[in-house]
Point group: C2
């Protein structure tokens, strides 16, 4: 870990147990790691910029959680097991009041998922964070976006819609008086990457993606890569009681569920012959799963409500504006 | 490669040949790569921020070269062979006039070193770049900072000092009339990572580091990790004819050479018994090497000029201010 500030040693070095596959962590030109024989390395990079992905005055512990959780979620969507993370932090000046709670939350989540910080950089500039996470996965089983087949069932983990409702609260302080506003705001920052669910799906799902732009936007990536279409029953979209109380009508909750981004739930497809195994395979993960539709031939993109046609114009999910 | 702008496909996807060890590049939640059996993965992350590491109006092709070359230099300093790079780009708005020459230069250098772009992110915000490069190396041979022994000889590749002189020109336009100003400015941005030299040193050097903060600052990292000291003869520091013409006196050139950062030359130590093999081992690399001193017991930090004591107060290298 290099860097221009002298806070690296205080806040970042020696905070974690050394993984056995990390041969060299901080203190050299590079980190050195070694993947076990037969496994490939899954790699994902994400940047969070203050003002775009979080407000500059947001709780630093929540920002740390969001940054790491959203990256780990990409590993979960491949069915990979988290292993290593590199972290580049750019900030205007070394701000210890911000760094201390940030690092506590960062390492708490990192330790929970046994992902080791192996290096990074600290630089002077406008506040932003770039993380590169790496995980391990059998390349022949990894969950990709290109394996969905016509007839496969479409599932999601957890509930959808809370993150967008939370973002509404963050951006519109007058909504704070609405029911469950505080819980939803917290939910926006504190998602749970579905790592165990992703691993459990390795032998069952034909494709998977994590929900970062909204389920409608994200499933289109699966459709495009797999050359298929989809039919979704919006009446089946799983929503929380908190969201129902916040938006008041089931239809409003469904619209939130369709377009809410940064959920970090998984959307995945399952062939008919594996459908019966899904509930038991995921029982230990603590994540409920819900079937929301079915893969159809290429060109089909159908939203219905228990068979009734609907005609919603959906707004996309566009981070902070 | 995810991202908020729709320029990814146009500028970043399909620009390179697929490496055989890249199982999946752009278009999924993660990239998938596989290291050959027996080799470990060397990983390094660096951020360049406009205004801190380059001027916002700098030639975008030069910025691309500097960003990638400085990261590859960390792989060179471990003796690793470049393999994969992830690239996170933050910019205020999608600026095609900047992106086109940037990407041309980025991929030209990437192709030269056979390093494949495997993913990244594009986000909206103040201009900055974060790269995570990965290379392959035998973990038992990798060049580390902690192997220097008393009596080992200290070497550097190439010339030192040009980068700092170039930075002076960039920051002080009145210096543009001095001899070789233009060459030195270019040299500041367009360094050559010493990948071949690093590989050639795998069986010969006892430690290595790349020169990013100035040889005096960087060698201190070797001394600290190896628990040793050093004696350096500043009269032996290799300097270019261009630098000599620019600064006018050999002493001034030596002072530049000692403190110039972002050189991306290698500084390495060689046991006595390998000294005779250095010149022939590095002959094919196109990089001259120069012995500048010797490792001494811990606590010694001696600068002399052909045996005469010197007392220079050296200014550090502090990027753009």
């Amino acid at each position: 870990m290099s860097g221009e500030f002298n806070l690296i040693e205080k806040y970042f070095v020696g905070r974690q147990k050394q993984r056995k596959d990390v041969l060299l962590a901080a203190g050299d030109d590079c980190a050195l790691v070694k993947a076990p024989e037969g496994l490939s390395v899954a790699i994902s990079t994400d940047t969070l910029v203050a003002g775009t992905h979080f407000l500059a005055d947001a709780n630093p512990a929540w920002v740390a959680h969001k940054a790491l959780a959203s990256n780990i979620s990409d590993l979960a969507a491949m069915g990979a097991t988290p292993a290593w993370v590199s972290f580049a932090l750019t900030m205007p000046s070394p701000d210890e009041a911000w760094l201390a709670p940030f690092c506590d939350a960062f390492f708490e989540l990192a330790d929970y998922f046994d992902i080791q910080l192996i290096g990074g950089d600290t630089t002077k500039g406008p506040l932003s964070l770039t993380l590169t996470v790496q995980g391990l996965v059998d390349p022949d089983k990894a969950l990709r976006r290109d394996g969905a087949k016509v007839g496969d069932w479409v599932y999601v983990t957890g509930n959808l819609g809370d993150s967008k409702a939370g973002l509404d609260v963050i951006l519109n302080p007058e909504l704070r008086t609405k029911p469950c506003a505080e819980e939803l705001e917290k939910r926006h920052y504190l998602s749970t990457p579905r790592v165990l669910a992703g691993q459990a799906l390795l032998n069952l799902a034909s494709s998977a993606i994590d929900i970062s732009d909204g389920v409608i936007s994200d499933i289109k990536h699966i459709l495009k890569r797999s050359n298929v279409g989809v039919s979704i029953d919006v009446a089946t979209l799983p929503v929380s009681n908190e969201l129902l109380q916040f938006v008041e009508t089931p239809a409003a909750a469904q619209q939130y569920a369709l377009s809410s981004g940064e959920e970090y739930e998984l959307c995945f497809t399952v062939p008919e012959q594996n459908k019966g195994s899904i509930d038991s395979a995921l029982a230990h993960c603590g994540a409920k799963v819900t079937c929301i539709g079915q893969i159809r031939p290429q060109g089909t993109f159908e939203l219905h409500c228990s068979g009734q046609a609907i005609d919603w114009s959906l707004s996309g999910y566009d981070h902070f504006k």
